[in-house]
Symmetry: C2
Subunit: 370 residues, 2 copies
């Protein structure tokens, strides 16, 4: 760890796409960046050393899951989440808001008290206020902390979305108050507003008044089409503060990322590379391969041709197809690592393309392929 405050600067632009650098006390993060998801304090089926060897500079973990199991006290006792999971990289934690809505047996949202819910594991009752979410994330010792917000489901009822915005705005302010003055870490606000451009703008304007270290876009990739998502992004991202990191939460496929970078987004996270690793789906520069497919029984070429992280360029598709069919854990280990390698390689190539004023060429080459 170095004695460094959180900071961000844009280094290069190509259209709206931009290359930047986030500095944290645990290291620098080149943007656009992709954060591999370690929901329960582990990136599923991967050693953290291997994740780092792929070039990853930051990971994400989920407050909701960790507060329920193993509980925050057990993690803070050993010094925080970095020590607990043996991860030297900076960690961003979400606030728990999204999982409370999507996973828990929700009891209710109380404007003052917070979210009242029962754990999806054992039914235990929790009350998560904006202040408590921040306190938990501080105990986890997260480098980038997210405000607690409400994530309404995709709906055409504008009034529901609008009412939710007021709640999220109030909670964002309370989150900021609880976070206080903490220059070594960052607190990000979250723009909501569904698919309504005016509500998205209203949300952004409110958050800007509170003043955050970075701004996230929440409530996308929740069932809308990619076209709808890109439309919202093209409208709201250019209006987000230029000098602060812009983070699109829970996104996405490689083409989602290409389209979002084109609109000026700097940060991403998604379970796709790791979850796909456990279902036999490999991301490659030739497109996605479903290695369960019987045709790979006859294919002795390597799954990955270019990365020697953990020798993944030395395992044939036929072998990995055999591992999948035999329910061998090594299948998940190899494909997960392949996919993390691919996503990090994608982000690196995106940054290089922007630096070379060639992002559009890169975008057009790959938008329909990967």
């Amino acid at each position: 760890m170095i004695d460094k405050n959180f900071s961000f600067s844009v280094l290069k632009e190509d259209g709206l796409a931009r290359v930047g650098k986030i500095s944290t006390q645990r290291g620098e993060i080149d943007t656009p960046t992709f954060m591999t998801v370690g929901t329960q304090g582990t990136i599923k089926a991967a050693f953290i050393d291997d994740v780092i060897a792929t070039g990853a500079q930051v990971i994400l973990s989920n407050t909701y899951h960790l507060m329920i199991r193993p509980g925050v006290e057990r993690i803070s006792r050993i010094g925080g989440l970095h020590q607990f999971m043996n991860c030297p990289l900076p960690i961003l934690t979400d606030s728990g808001g999204f999982q409370i809505m999507s996973l828990s047996k929700m009891v209710k949202i109380d404007f003052e008290q917070g979210a009242i819910f029962n754990s999806h594991i054992d039914g235990k009752k929790f009350i998560l206020s904006p202040e408590e979410s921040i306190r938990i994330q501080k105990k986890l010792n997260s480098d980038i902390v997210m405000v607690l917000d409400e994530c309404p489901k995709l709906t055409n009822d504008k009034k529901i979305i609008h009412n939710s915005l007021k709640l999220s705005y109030s909670w964002a302010r309370r989150s900021k108050n609880e976070f206080g003055n903490n220059p070594k870490k960052a607190l990000f606000g979250i723009i909501q507003g569904g698919l309504y451009k005016d509500l998205r703008l209203e949300s952004l304007e409110g958050l800007k008044k509170i003043d955050f270290d970075g701004y996230a876009i929440g409530g996308l990739a929740v069932g809308e089409t990619q076209k709808q998502m890109f439309e919202i992004l093209s409208n709201i991202v250019p209006k987000m503060p230029y000098k602060k990191p812009r983070y699109l939460m829970g996104v996405g496929t490689p083409s989602d990322i290409l389209g979002a970078v084109k609109n000026g987004v700097d940060m991403f996270d998604c379970v796709i590379p790791t979850r796909s690793g456990r279902t036999g789906l490999a991301f490659t520069w030739e497109g996605r391969l479903n290695l369960r497919n019987a045709k790979y029984q006859k294919d002795d070429t390597p799954m990955c041709s270019y990365s020697n992280v953990r020798s993944i360029n030395s395992y044939s598709k036929s072998y990995i197809n055999h591992l999948i069919n035999s329910n061998e854990i090594l299948a998940s280990m190899l494909i997960t690592l392949n996919n993390i390698v691919f996503y990090q390689d994608l982000m690196k190539k995106i940054r290089t393309a922007i630096k070379n004023n060639a992002f559009d060429v890169f975008y057009n080459k790959y938008i329909d392929l990967i």
Copy 2:
């Protein structure tokens, strides 16, 4: 690969315990050695590079499983099992005999034709003759090939065991004929005879006449007590050819290994370290730890204190307990690797103790602890 014939020499003795060296075209193997089991062409939940980093010099794989799935042709097409599973180490393959008896839907044993059985995966009918087992192991390109034998279940009916010996003797001779002259590889005979010392001796004498590159003891660790096993070993092992490797199949716990080495055994294999890795049981020099136990929630000390292979000395018991409770694959990955590290460390310490004429001291210190 080096142009070297298979050979073995005893380098040091301490009582009946002995340190030796097996030379193969793929590298040397210090004995006593433990072969980690890679049943389906993968050591479950472990990268082969990590297995090698633990000091492993040879692994074992199972002909029965591989002939059924993915089939031997798919493995031989890419050059053999080493290429298929990306393993540069020497590989010993068993003959399939043990799994045919224990796993398959057995149809019958035919003295001439071989074992006739249905796959436990899809019911497909197979006929495995002694000759076919050797041909398959040649196609897998195994460095150490085992004869096909019959492995009768533990029984008090001496006649059953005796009849089985005649069959196994005939099959051993046929296996040797099929193996032919093959100085780069080794063919091992397998002593059967249940818990009958006279039958064990009869089996050994028959095999010695055929003349093998090494001799294995089969049909132990199948339900008898450790005391019964040690009695058989103390009787038969000293009568086994001094200048050939002695291999106790499917054994065992650390204390089983200590007792067998004391009687002069050189080679072991067992699924215990890897299987335990997937059930939460960690082998350590302080004894076995069931990391599922709730008491480890409060234990921030590392599971393994001495090995930095894949940083396993940096993960706390509390963290691994959390991973187990959360059904995270990383739990299996970390504990499996810990156990492979422990077994390799055990064998290294055994060899050192023998070299220092201190095996009895070592044996007495650990026989009741690990």
